[in-house]
Amino acid sequence: MKGLKSLERFSTLFLVAGLICFLIAFGLLGVWPALMTDKLDNSAGEIKEVPRDFKIYYQSVDEYKKALFLGKQIYIKEACWHCHSQYIRPVGNESPRYGLVSTAGEYQNELNKPHLFGTRRVGPDLIREAGKRTNDWHFAHLYNPKSTEPMSVMPSYTWYFDKSTNPPKPTPEGVALVAYLQSLGAWAADVKRTQFDTNQITMPPEPDF
């Protein structure tokens, strides 16, 4: 038992418990996998053109890209990501509900720094949101969620709309937020379709019960 007494001394506690245990975990299960996924290729996620439905708001790709970052900033400051996750798991019938299962490479771009995986779904996942609904649906939903879904518990975000006009028009921030939402998952294979043409949505795989 005498040897065990060293476990209660400053140097052991400081070095072994405080530093070594933490750094082993940090290195093995933090930095190593992070470096692994950091190298993945995400050329599919590159933005080459302004989507058709946003051409009235943004003239150039640069403007559109700027809007995506602004939209993401709003998404963060309103804590959207606390109620809407951004990854599809290969279990729980999530693929039939939302679309293609998420892969690591998809997230390797500047727009995902910091990432917005989220840990709670009060509302549905949004990583395959691109093109599922029209921009007008999104504007109506953000202004008053109960107008598109009467039982929704989502708060309304009326401050992204100019209320002096009738009907209220989205402000540039509001448009940017919808641009960001409509960009989520636009790169994934099963949502590569003419935007908003519901006939071309690929049929989901058979549910697994």
Binding site: L4, L7, E8, R9, F10, F14, V16, A17, G18, L19, C21, F22, I24, A25, L28, L29, W32, P33, A34, M36, T37, D38, L40, I76, A79, C80, H82, S85, Y87, R89, P90, G92, N93, E94, R97, S102, E106, Y107, Q108, N109, N112, K113, P114, H115, L116, F117, T119, R120, R121, V122, G123, P124, M151, S152, V153, P155, S156, Y157, T158, P207
Partner: protein, 461 residues
Amino acid sequence: MKNLVSYPLIKAHLLISILYIMIVVLAGLAYSLQFIDLFPFPHIEFLSPGRIRMVHTQGVAYAWIANIFFALIMYIVPKLTEKRIFSEKLGWFIFYIYNFLVLATVVMILGGYAQALEWGETPKLLDPFISVIVVLFVLNIVAGSIWPARSKPFYVSVWYILAALIWTPLVYVMGNFLPEYVFEGTGGATITSMYIHDLVGLFVTPVGIGMVYYLLPVLMRRPLYSHSLSLIGFWGLAFFYPMNSAHHFLWSPIPMWTQYASIVASVGVHVVVYTVVFNIFATLAADWKRVIDDISLRFIFVGALCYLVTCIQCAIHTTLSVQEIIHFTDWVVGHAHLVLFGTFSFWAFAFIYFILPKLTGVKIFSESLKEWHFWLSTLGIVIMDIGLMCAGLVQGHMWKSLVPFIDTVVASKPYWWVRTLSGVAILVGEICFLINIVMTCLSGWEKSRGKNEGSQESRAF
């Protein structure tokens, strides 16, 4: 010996933490009202539910828990090592700056400057300052109270607190800077998961357990049941907890081997929790009558029960098959409340009821308010957790059954009512607590004023 502990400094941290817990509970309650369509401030940008949620969680971690833990560290460590903290002036500097940063965090989150890091939404601008303050606090304790006493082996509380003092700044810097500036996407998520877990596992848990190991022998007036068990518990925590990280993002794009490793490490949590909880219960079992009579021991007892339940939950619901159903649901929300309110806030209440008579020089104002606080808090958290666990199972299974998403929202509403009502019970309990503490402080203040006047009079004669 008399000046070993700086009572005014501890009192300042303690009182401000009680103010914060009121704000935090109110914020949580307000947020929960959104789910049952009763949110009190709709259409107000600065008070939108999403922002209030961040105030709630940030307030719990950095305002309430951090302040009360600062207070108890500055009490327990000097008492055990018989060395004062490095500098009382530095302590006051930390108190003012840290609480200024907490207020700035609240204002900036409501103003829309939150960071995208769960449990770390403190604005990016404030992160460096908070890191520096935390490091200063650590130096104040380690350089003053721990380093000069290093020639002898330490008591178990000091192991836990010393380790937490080293881990906390490392964890804070890692989580707040790496996903934001270094690793994008999935890599960032790997680090975030480590941060989410370590904030609770390597800051809140060790300080909380260290505090219980201090209070138990003092209040029970007998030694801990087993020294070896505490040794196993501590080293189990140091080894397993940091590796649990990726279990917060199971089935996510994070490399699968990382997820498997974190699940294996999560099973190691069993070792930690059974040794710690057995040690606590075995010490309490020596004299149940004392436990029933002493409110602090009762809070420790219920806290330990909640700790047992949460940690068994933790080790079971991090298996892949259970994750499939309960991830993304209210089950996890219930789990978080059970940890941070049921366990660590209860243990902090035990410490407050223990220390307040020493700080004020008078007994706690009202026995019945104590009882109300204890029973309302206990009832509130038990009902809330059971309700949210049920909600989680309903949501998870309904999602898997592919019913329209909105049906799962409708099905959750009764459970959200239960959550709000149990939240009201907790709020009323905390109001009893606040009144009791304020009245105790006032009578302590009157008594000391009377004493001063008395001593002046006696000097005059």
